[in-house]
């Protein structure tokens, strides 16, 4: 039983980082543009399908296939930002509803292109590491490493570079930041696009683990948002931590309790945290 | 004593905004609290009206403790404040702003009988005397001209007057005014003084916070001087203004210039 526990905790951590990358996008977008971009899941879906297409149909090697996937996701992100999100800055409810509209459009587009039939990408790397009864699929470890790296880089660049400090300053106090000469429009668009790129990257990795269907984005964004709230919206480390906690909660929860309620375990946790500390685990009082 | 503030202290992290301030306000008087910016005046009001919770000390309203009560409860008890930069219901008309403020009055007057308003054949806007009162207040505050414009369209001075009008509509026993004169033009200040006089005539106790000394000197019966949240002098305005620590702390520069 203990080995089962260890194995699934590890697994939960890995799954959690995948939630975390979306959560990171959610947190960044919220911090800078004041809206929760529920359509992030769709950009993840785009990234995933593009990767699948380039890898399975075109036959590019996986690492090569990832880059255009991210680029395309980011491109769509840019278009969406210029056409839609530009007009919903700092209007949480409108932003929420616009992204819901966008979800319905993108998902329908995916249906037209790829149908409901699931696409399961050829295995990039199969098999698993085994230590006793504990076994972790190789690809999952790779995905974990890549995600962790990207999140760390994001964190580092946001805390070190000028743009990062500008973004932080802005999220703390827009007026002051603008006085300091932060170009609001560019900064906001930049962050929206970057978060969609992150989602696209998440999607590209997702495609190497799971089968794809047009609805995947809608199902995934909820987890991302839950994770972001758990960790505390506005906190970069929090989004990773939140994702991991969510992943582990679900894994452990569905071992000791009926897995039919798996999605509930995360939610209960989120509610508990919100009531106990509204700013989330790592969030700053807002 | 209407209101007693006893060793009231408020700390924000390291900084102490109000450090055991003690004073009291008697019914019917106009008390002026003054001090330089950042001397904890606004914090003091927020503590009294329950917007902030004190770190230490007690607040007695009619000798009953009210610290820790929620703002609406304190307002219902009869302590209402205005905002330094006016808070309004921007989308609504001037009239509706004040109408919303009639909430407490109706609550006191009718209590649960307000449910009768829900009856279809009863006209909701039937409280003739309330409507009358609203119009009086608007007239008094020189807002009757713009009765039906939206609050968003007002000038800063008018906004402040509307804020005051709404506070008046609550018919408080103690009205706390946060820098009512700041940003007002000369004649607007004169209007303000008229309004304050009217209020005192309707037996409303006033506590005016301001750094405009001359204004306070004109309206206040009694003055309290704060510095860094510390109460440094109390008494008749003229006396307090002469108080050495006040001069040193607050009027020093002006004297030097004079």
């Amino acid at each position: 039983m203990s080995q089962l526990l260890v194995g699934q905790t590890l697994n939960g951590v890995i799954v959690g980082t995948l939630y975390g990358i979306i959560a990171l996008g959610v947190t960044l977008t919220f911090g800078i543009t004041g809206i929760v971009n529920f359509a992030l899941g769709e950009f993840m879906m785009i990234g995933a399908y593009v990767t699948w297409y380039l890898f399975d149909i075109v036959g590019l090697p996986y690492p090569v296939a990832i880059l255009p996937a991210v680029a395309i996701a980011a491109g769509c992100g840019f278009v969406a930002d210029q056409l839609l999100f530009r007009f919903t800055r700092n209007n949480l409810i409108n932003g929420l509803l616009v992204s819901i509209g966008l979800i319905s459009i993108v998902e329908a587009g995916a249906l037209l292109l790829w149908t409901t039939t699931p696409k399961d990408m050829g295995y990039v790397l199969s098999g698993a590491f085994r230590m006793g009864a504990v076994s972790v699929p190789r690809m999952k470890i790779v995905v974990f490493a890549l995600l962790a790296a990207v999140m760390f880089l994001t964190y580092a660049s946001l805390s070190r570079t000028w743009i990062g400090r500008a973004a932080y300053a802005f999220s703390q106090n827009p007026e002051a930041a603008m006085l300091m000469g932060v170009k609001t429009e560019i900064l906001q668009s930049g962050v929206v696009v970057y978060s969609t790129a992150l989602a696209g990257f998440g999607g590209a990795l997702y495609a190497s683990l799971y089968s794809l269907e047009p609805a995947m984005g809608g199902l995934y964004i909820l987890k991302g948002v839950e994770a972001a709230i758990l960790g505390g919206i506005g906190s970069l480390i929090g989004s990773l931590a939140g994702g991991v906690i969510l992943g582990v909660t679900e894994a452990i929860g569905s071992i000791y309790l009926p897995s039919a309620f798996r999605d509930a375990y995360g939610l209960v946790f989120v509610v508990a945290i919100l009531l106990y500390q509204p700013s989330g685990l790592f969030g700053t009082e807002r | 004593m209407l209101l007693e503030v006893i060793e009231l202290t408020k700390r924000f992290g390291g900084l102490t905004a109000v450090s055991d301030a003690s004073f009291s306000i008697a019914s019917g008087e106009i008390v002026g609290i003054f001090g330089p910016n950042g001397s904890g005046k606004t914090t003091l009001l927020n503590l009294i009206t329950g917007v902030l919770a004190p770190s230490a000390g007690r607040i007695l309203w009619k000798s009953a403790e009210i610290q820790g009560l929620s703002p609406h409860a304190i307002a219902a008890a009869g302590v209402v404040k205005t905002f330094q930069n006016p808070q309004l219901f921007l989308e609504l008309s001037i009239y509706d702003n004040v109408a919303i403020a009639s909430h407490l009055r109706l609550q006191r007057q009718f209590g649960m009988r307000r449910l009768a308003e829900l009856l279809p054949w009863r006209d909701a806007a039937r409280h003739a005397e309330v409507v009358q009162r609203i119009d009086n207040i608007l007239a008094l505050c020189r807002l009757d001209g713009v009765r039906d414009r939206t609050a968003a369209s007002l000038s800063y001075g008018q906004e402040k007057m509307l804020g005051l009008a709404m506070a008046m509509m609550c018919e408080p026993e103690l009205l706390l005014l946060d820098e009512p004169a700041s940003g007002l033009g000369e004649d607007e200040i004169r209007t303000l003084e008229e309004v304050l006089r009217d209020l005192r005539d309707t037996a409303t106790t006033l506590c005016v916070i301001d750094h405009k000394v001359d204004f306070l000197a004109r309206v206040a019966d009694r003055a309290i001087a704060l510095q860094q949240g510390l109460l440094i002098a109390e008494g008749a305005p003229a006396k307090v203004l002469q108080h050495p620590r006040v001069i040193e702390a607050y009027l020093g520069r002006q004297h030097a210039r004079a």
């Binding site: 039939t117 076994s135 679900e250 | -």
Partner: protein, 386 residues
Amino acid sequence: MRRLICLAILALLASPVAAQNIVKIGQIEAQTGANAIYGYMSSQGLALAVDQVNKAGGFQVGGKTYTIELIASDTRGDPKEASIQLKRLLETDGVKFVFGPFLSNVFVTIEPYAKQFNGKFLLMGGATRIHDFLGTPDHDFLLRSWNWDAGPKGFGNLMVDRLVKETGAKKIAMLFQNDQGGKVLVDIYTPLFKQKGIDAQLELFEPGTKDFSAVLAKLAAANPDFLFPSYSDAHLYDIVRQATEGNYFRKFFLVRGSLGPGLKNKGEIDDYFVYVPKYFEEAEKTDPKVAKFVADYKTFYKRDFPYDQAPLCSSSCYDHLFMLIEAMKKAGSVDDVTKIRKELLSMTYDGLWKIRFDERGEEIFNFDIVRMKRAGQISVTSVDAQ
């Protein structure tokens, strides 16, 4: 509001009056939404068939040539939509033949209304719950276009039988998505396993779940002989991969799934025991009709032929149209539904499938059981259900 009313009235007037030699075929299937797989595929098969009939210049009945007008509506699996659409089909458009639904929730919602039109139209649906209404009074309009796992004649019984005989399985782990299809399978197979003395443990998961390792590990802890996972490839690919990669299971027992996931992980699989209505990968090589169908599908939809659940619904729905036309010819009428029904029940149609209906209107067709052993050696047993 008035504008809306006008719109509605306009729509009412605009709706076409039954034209002379057009046969209207209605379809109510979920083409989008969470439970759309079956509905989506069957609507594709039907659309393809209709296109072919009309391209061929229609069909002859009683000296007249008829073409087909297909009115396909998307229920999204929402009972509300379906009940509106069926009313429109039957009352406004005067449709006499309705294909679908595959979803039980949709069917039970429209059933009370539909039975008022008993004898005025035919409904050819795949929903499991249709089975309960077949042969009951005022349900002559029902035909169940998909045979069912339960009951002595059902293939469920037969599958479990073979499982026990061929593998001697004693203990089985069931893992289903918590949706209609999953619930149906649970209700059917739990008692079946009990009869056969197989001890079955059950776990459900929310549709949309992608990572199963936790629940798989949990199930594997009691080390059962077989895993009986889901029914839809949307989950099968993930479950089979994770089960084998994590070394939780190497033996699988499936109904309504496809061979795809098994083949993809064949290196890691000892036994993959699956009910496949028709083993298309093979049939395409041996049976010219199937080959033609696959080719036509590819050209019509300009996309590759999906070898998962697609064949099951698209091809059977494709057949049903031609079978219906045949029945019309035999009956010498395109609107006498009682006659046409009698013909349908008495005939055996030999298309992509060998189809016949039993006296209650339950469809019976032959199916294959495919068994893949270690290293992907595949053995196919064709079962003649006729």
